[in-house]
Symmetry: C3
Subunit: 343 residues, 3 copies
């Protein structure tokens, strides 16, 4: 890392109140665990404050209403430490290379409409009738198919594929190698042979969506696969044709969501979860990692296991598994005892 700031400089950026030595030099942000006397971290609850006691930090961001007394650490009080820490991270973020303008090797159809202030990397291909918003960053080797619409202030990273006729909102970030709008996996079987069902629908990705690397979101058979506003999707996720994902839902890595599943708003889908076709999740469903949901409706709550169960119930069942060999033995012993008693 090449940057350094005084605590005073940082406190100004995050509108914080300094308690302690404001002239100290901070060379990087850190976690509490990896802190040292030239790093800055944050704590916003009792547990993390406790951890911070043991960390030899240069500076610690805490909530306004909390108090903290650490000999060697300067404290900065702010309204919301987590959001302040995001600003600090941005202060220290080193620049990525982004092409200014349109790289001469980009192959762009004459019928494409490119917005103001474009950043289009080398060898990117943009097909007919694409509409690209303002300030959107396109890395090298991206493919944007016919008639795709992309909003403002977004990012398409290296080698992203957008199939034709898809729509992408504002401030959408799609990381390297993700594929949007591939044909859904639909076949009709007749006499043992499979006939491909053409997938003539599209994908609509709304505003503020982030999509990880290597994730696939398939176009609808008819109609639209929908990714709601502020949805965040991790790497290597599969979202099949005709799914709809409600606003603000979080989908962790390697999740698979089968065709026509409907996911509510503010859901939390843990890593490696599988959701069957036509399943329906209400708002605020939490599926812990590796859970499996069959073709059912799931009400608001916290679930675990495959098939999924309320998390508390799943834990109770899991607690019995270890006793099963003994239980099987006990039953045999009891049966013998009863036989003996009844003779």
């Amino acid at each position: 890392m090449d940057y350094s700031f005084t605590i005073k400089q940082i406190a100004e950026q995050i509108h914080g109140t300094v308690i302690g030595d404001a002239s100290r030099i901070i060379t990087k942000p850190s976690s509490l665990e990896e802190g040292s006397n030239d790093t800055i971290a944050f704590a916003d609850n009792a547990r993390s404050l406790q951890k911070a006691q043991d960390a030899d930090l240069g500076a610690l961001i805490i909530p306004e209403k909390m108090s903290m007394n650490i000999n060697e650490t300067t404290v900065i009080k702010v309204a919301v430490p987590r959001l302040a820490f995001i600003r600090v991270l941005n202060m220290f973020k080193q620049p990525h290379t982004v092409y200014e303008g349109i790289h001469p090797t980009a192959v762009i159809s004459k019928t494409a409409q490119i917005g103001k202030n474009p950043h289009i990397g080398a060898y990117t291909v943009i097909e007919d009738d694409v509409v690209l918003g303002d300030n959107t960053v396109i890395y090298p080797h991206v493919y944007i198919g016919k008639s795709v619409h992309i909003g403002n202030n977004g990012e398409l990273h290296h080698s992203v594929s957008i199939y034709p006729y898809c729509t992408i909102g504002d401030r959408v970030i799609i990381k390297a190698h993700s594929v949007i709008g591939g044909e859904g996996f639909g076949y009709f079987q007749d006499s043992g042979k499979h006939y491909k069902v053409p997938q003539i629908g599209t994908v609509m990705i709304k505003d503020d969506v982030h999509i990880g690397s290597g994730t696939c979101i398939d176009r609808a058979t008819t109609g639209t696969t929908i990714i709601g506003n502020d949805v965040k999707i991790d790497n290597l996720v599969q979202i099949a044709h005709n799914c709809s994902i409600g606003d603000h839902t979080i989908i962790v890595s390697q999740v698979g969501i089968a065709g026509s599943a409907k996911i509510g708003k503010h859901c939390m889908i843990g890593g490696q979860v599988g959701i069957a076709d036509h399943a329906e999740l209400d708002d605020e469903v939490i599926l812990l990692a590796r859970s499996g949901v069959s073709k059912v409706r799931v009400k608001k709550g916290r679930y675990f296991g495959a098939p999924h169960k309320p998390a508390i119930k799943a834990a109770r069942i899991e607690a019995v598994f270890g006793k099963l060999p003994q239980m099987a033995q006990d039953i045999q012993d009891i049966k013998k005892q009863l036989n003996k008693n009844n003779q």
Copy 2:
């Protein structure tokens, strides 16, 4: 959607008999659930016909031998509604851009043989001794390694990678970012260090195979990894070295098949299933989603769970799980009771 047809026009294309108003305008195909009075859908069993009763469709395709009386919906009778609906979808499918000829930026070895009527997109790279069949569509940024043979009428989508010496049949579709023929994951361990086993075999993909996006099929150590005719593979699937997949088998998203596993014909492998190395599946094995198969032989049948069990048995076991905490308690109570009785 920009297209519209009269029901008469559609019925002619699908060789159907119209019952009702043939002059109505249809603007798109739909599912039964999303139907409206300008859409066309199909129904081919009692359950879907029931659904169709409640849908306010413009037109409904049904089997010749069924009858249906819906006030406001025109009916089209055909031999096989599912196949007729595929034709309807194709009528409404909007065109994708496909490059006519060979894009001037494509880098093609002088020793490559390109078939008739090529469609080779921008920046694609084709190495020495490649043989490419007629009418095959290659999207931008594809890489075709040395001596790869590809048949006629296929499609390689954006950024597909084909490693050297692989063979691909006719009418094969490979979606964006899939990787065919990477070296299998093979190491010999000696004194705690790993030595890479060179994978000198190849991959053979037979006719009419479809491969989703982001799927990886590794080349064999020696010999050939084989994907049979009419096999359909979804997104983000892993098929390891020396596997063989029988004709007409379906593999859903995120499945992992480990080295040297042999899968029979007409199998159905559900999403997120894992199959161990050297496992053998007979023909017509159905593995429900998220099942796991260890290094065993699996006979024709329907299975669920990890380790897999006959689906009916798995359901019976699953049904007991919810009772386990009570069962554990019952056993304790019984033991106490018996102790008391025996005193």
Copy 3:
């Protein structure tokens, strides 16, 4: 395959002693199962020697101290048959095309430092301040972001993405479409909206690491995601921000490792395993395929199941599952019996 060698030629390369006819022609290496009278295979334990008895091989490599009497097969004795067989495979390996020098279409920043004897394929993009070691092979369509450092004698295959500021050691092989250094999946929630946590850390990949196709390794929030020396990672693996993977560890396909997990040295992580954030694996932990580890510490040993258990215990529990419906019935019967006895 186009190559053939006499057994004498092969034995010379692997420093072996021939017993039998050294003049026979071998046209390819094979497994024992696929052997024929012109192939060479190896056997190094009782079980594989038994298999070799039934295989009609041209030549068989065995350990010096073993003896073997097969009428029709020539035997070659060597110190370590597995390592000798790697040499044999390399003798028969057909060449892949590698660009000699820097392809004229590669877009390379003037501030990038390219080592001796480069092989940089068509349309690859190398950004500012990249440092590339000697003899490293870069396939077409690769993207190497700003300030990435890459060592000597490595390979980056088709369309690999390396985000800025990552460090890659010597002799590292990264297969097609893998993504190194994408921003980790980190969000702070405030009033129901998600705020992206900038991931300003990096990824460090040490020497002799191999990474499969379609694998994603995310950069750290702060600090470094570390992949140790001689780590081998298969296809479609997810390694989240701030993980560290110990030297010589093996990670099989479709594994997911969540943020800040620490994996020891010489571990073996089976296919489709999931490891929760902040989990800690000691050295020499073996996780069988599809196991799941929650946020705990795991000591040296062999584990199976989700949540993971010692493999022997997991097998004992699994053995009871099949009896569960009968056990439930038994308990009901026993209760009835006791009620009757007590009346």
